[in-house]
């Protein structure tokens, strides 16, 4: 178990810079999830942490020790690969034992560790099989077992669940979370699946084009995204981003979404939400509202301090079972709402919706950075 400090990591392949100044500090026992679109440099960063690739600049410290000049064999880091990377010529037991053997650990200790890990992951009955005689989920377990048996200071997972089918993926996700809670190990984990990121992480690092966009807890990344990229990348359906205009009338600020010659849509902002928008009076901003902040307005209901109503036209209704996604037209802009599964809506109908603004976020329309 250890702390990990990435200090201004840079990486270029020839003239192309792939990673720009990545700095991340991990406390002991943290579960960091790296997310970002394909090609943003997640695997490259993992390989640099692992020692499989040399950084072009910056330094890495594992538990205070500078590991930048060390090779992968000397770093005390274990990695679980997307393809599992089980050695095809060795049995499951030999696979788990291999790193211990390479580190010259006593035979008796080795046998003990293999047995312990096999019990923990419930693969005792598979120990004498070859990898090709295992299912995908079993292979994944063995790969995790091999990493655990080493008792390293840091675990790296590069999309470990992406080759599994949907159900198994959920099960393994829960298992990895349990494992982390039990072992309290420090983990860096790469995934494409943002639900996986939200459920597993103690902190999420969102990357784009080799630049760290935001580093924060799942709550922060979801509710206070640092910019519009993070806002639309995290969460499904993605956060609604609306062009809006801030206008002042007396002390209160009004946010209006009207585009072209559509009927007026907008509302007066509650004091808390208005504060960061003061300097933007009379200007355009981007307003971010999550789909679940919307519900159908009921006649005669009194609105809370953070609630407003907004008129919109129903365009498309998509029931998903647990809830129903409804695509609305708010004064010419598309807006997705997550509503009760048993709402009774008609496409084309114009109606009033109730919006909870306690989690409203606004972004500068030029820089797309969060206003706070």
């Amino acid at each position: 178990m250890a702390t990990l400090a990435l200090d201004g990591i840079k990486k270029s392949f020839g003239p192309v810079q792939i990673l720009h100044d990545i700095s991340i500090d991990l406390k002991d026992g943290e579960f960091l999830v790296l997310v970002g679109p394909s090609g943003c440099g997640k695997s490259t960063l993992m390989n640099i942490i692992a020692g499989l690739e040399e950084p072009s600049g910056g330094a890495l410290h594992l538990n205070g020790r500078d590991i930048t000049p060390l090779g992968p064999a000397d770093r005390n880091i274990a990695m679980v690969f997307q393809s599992y990377a089980l050695y095809p010529n060795m049995t499951v037991a030999k696979n788990i034992e291999f790193p211990l053997e390479m580190h010259r650990i006593d035979r008796s200790v080795r046998a003990e560790r293999v047995a312990k890990v096999a019990k923990l992951l419930q693969i005792e009955h598979l120990l004498e099989r070859k990898p090709r005689q295992l299912s995908g989920g079993q292979r994944q377990r063995v790969a995790i077992g091999r990493a655990l048996a080493r008792e390293p200071q840091l675990y790296l997972f590069d999309e470990p669940l992406s080759n599994l089918d949907a159900q198994l993926r959920l099960d393994m996700r829960t298992e990895i979370k349990k494992l982390h809670q039990r072992l309290k190990s420090t983990i860096v984990y790469v995934t494409h699946d943002q639900i996986e990121a939200m459920t597993l992480a103690t902190r999420i690092a969102v990357m784009k084009g080799g630049v760290l966009q935001q580093l924060g807890t799942p709550y922060e990344v979801y509710n206070r995204p640092a910019n519009t990229f993070v806002a639309s990348f995290m969460g499904s359906p993605r956060m609604n981003l609306l062009q809006a205009r801030v206008s002042g009338s007396g002390g209160a600020l009004e946010l209006s979404f009207t585009k072209g010659d559509r009927a007026h849509a907008g509302f007066v902002l509650p004091a808390a939400a208005a504060a960061p928008l003061q300097p933007y009076t009379g200007r355009e901003v981007i307003a971010g509202i999550r789909a679940e902040a919307v519900s159908i307005a009921r006649k005669g209901e009194t609105l809370g301090a953070n609630q407003r109503t907004l008129a919109a036209r129903v365009e498309v209704i998509e029931p998903t079972g647990a809830d129903t996604l409804v695509v609305l037209d708010v004064a010419g802009q598309e807006f997705t709402a997550r509503l009760d599964p048993d709402v009774d809506l008609v496409p084309g109908a114009m109606m009033d919706f109730q919006i909870d603004l306690s989690k409203l976020v606004c972004f500068d329309s030029q820089t797309e950075i969060l206003l706070s």
């Binding site: 692992a50 499989l52 690969f81 390479m102 091999r146």
Partner: protein
């Protein structure tokens, strides 16, 4: 409609089999001629019945070719040269295969400067005709004190084979899953551990291909053998040539046939025996879970 198409298919099949059987017989014909005539007394061959089976079966030509025929100055038969060829082929195949694996590993798993140029140069060695290296090689062997010895031939054939074996292993390892190597390196495996514990145990198909290739080439190699060996170190090919072309006395064709067959037996065995493993190795690699 379907009926006529089926009939067409069956007819096609029969035709295909006939062609294949005909071709197989054609390729087997020389072997039949060799075997049949090696069991005949010389008179039967002289009568001109080359295609006929022996009337009066005899193993004398085989015994003569193996242990008493005149080769060079002494009447030793092919036996000592058969042994020479084994003393040559076993170390030469082992050495060239080992270096091929090592080179393939280095060329694919370490992205060092000039790796591709180096490989191109090694590939070039595959296309160098034997004749060009004869004189420099003779000088080298002389300097090393290996001229006219089996050891010298081992060196020549090993060096000459490394171009081929490197090509085989490099192409095989270029398609080897990168994550396996990376995983092994993270697990603490260093240079030779990766080669011996991870790469080589998964290399049986290419090892078998390389061994078949090197074995048949070195076993059948004549020019180096004729150029760099003397009476004590002739490989079998050179001895066979001496047997067939010795100008003294009558031409004992039956002995020549038997001798040629003896020279061919090891390569035949290698093909038949390892061909099976070759197919098995390929199958094991292709069956995925």
């Amino acid at each position: 409609m379907a009926d006529t198409r089926d009939k067409g298919l069956v007819a096609g099949r029969i035709f295909l089999y006939l062609v294949l059987i005909f071709l197989a017989l054609l390729f087997l014909l020389p072997m039949y001629v060799m075997l049949a005539n090696s069991f005949k007394p010389l008179e039967e061959i002289r009568n001109g019945q080359l295609m006929a089976l022996p009337i009066d079966w005899t193993t004398a030509p085989w015994r003569s070719a193996w242990s008493t025929a005149q080769i060079g100055v002494q009447a030793t038969g092919l036996r000592p040269y058969f042994i020479n060829s084994f003393l040559l082929v076993i170390p030469a195949v082992a050495i060239s295969t080992m270096f091929g694996a090592l080179n393939g590993y280095i060329l694919t798993q370490f992205q060092f400067r000039g790796a591709n140029l180096l490989f191109a140069l090694m590939l070039f060695s595959v296309f160098i005709p034997f004749q060009i290296v004869l004189i420099p090689m003779a000088k080298t062997l002389g300097t090393l004190g290996l001229a006219g010895t089996v050891k010298g031939l081992v060196l020549v054939n090993s060096v000459y084979g490394i171009g081929f074996t490197t090509l085989f292993f490099r192409n095989y390892y270029a398609a080897f899953p990168v994550e396996l190597i990376r995983s092994a390196r993270m697990d603490g495996a260093r240079f030779f551990a990766v080669l011996f514990r991870i790469l080589l145990p998964s290399s049986s198909p290419i090892i078998i291909v390389t061994v078949i290739w090197q074995f048949t080439n070195i076993w059948n190699e004549f020019l180096f053998g004729a150029s760099f060996s003397d009476f004590s170190s002739f490989p079998l090919t050179v001895a066979l040539n001496n047997l067939v072309s010795s100008s003294t006395g009558v031409k004992e064709y039956n002995v020549h046939f038997a001798g040629a067959f003896i020279a061919a037996i090891p390569t035949l065995i290698v093909y038949v025996a390892s061909g099976k493993y070759f197919v098995r190795g390929l199958m094991a690699g292709s069956v995925k879970g």
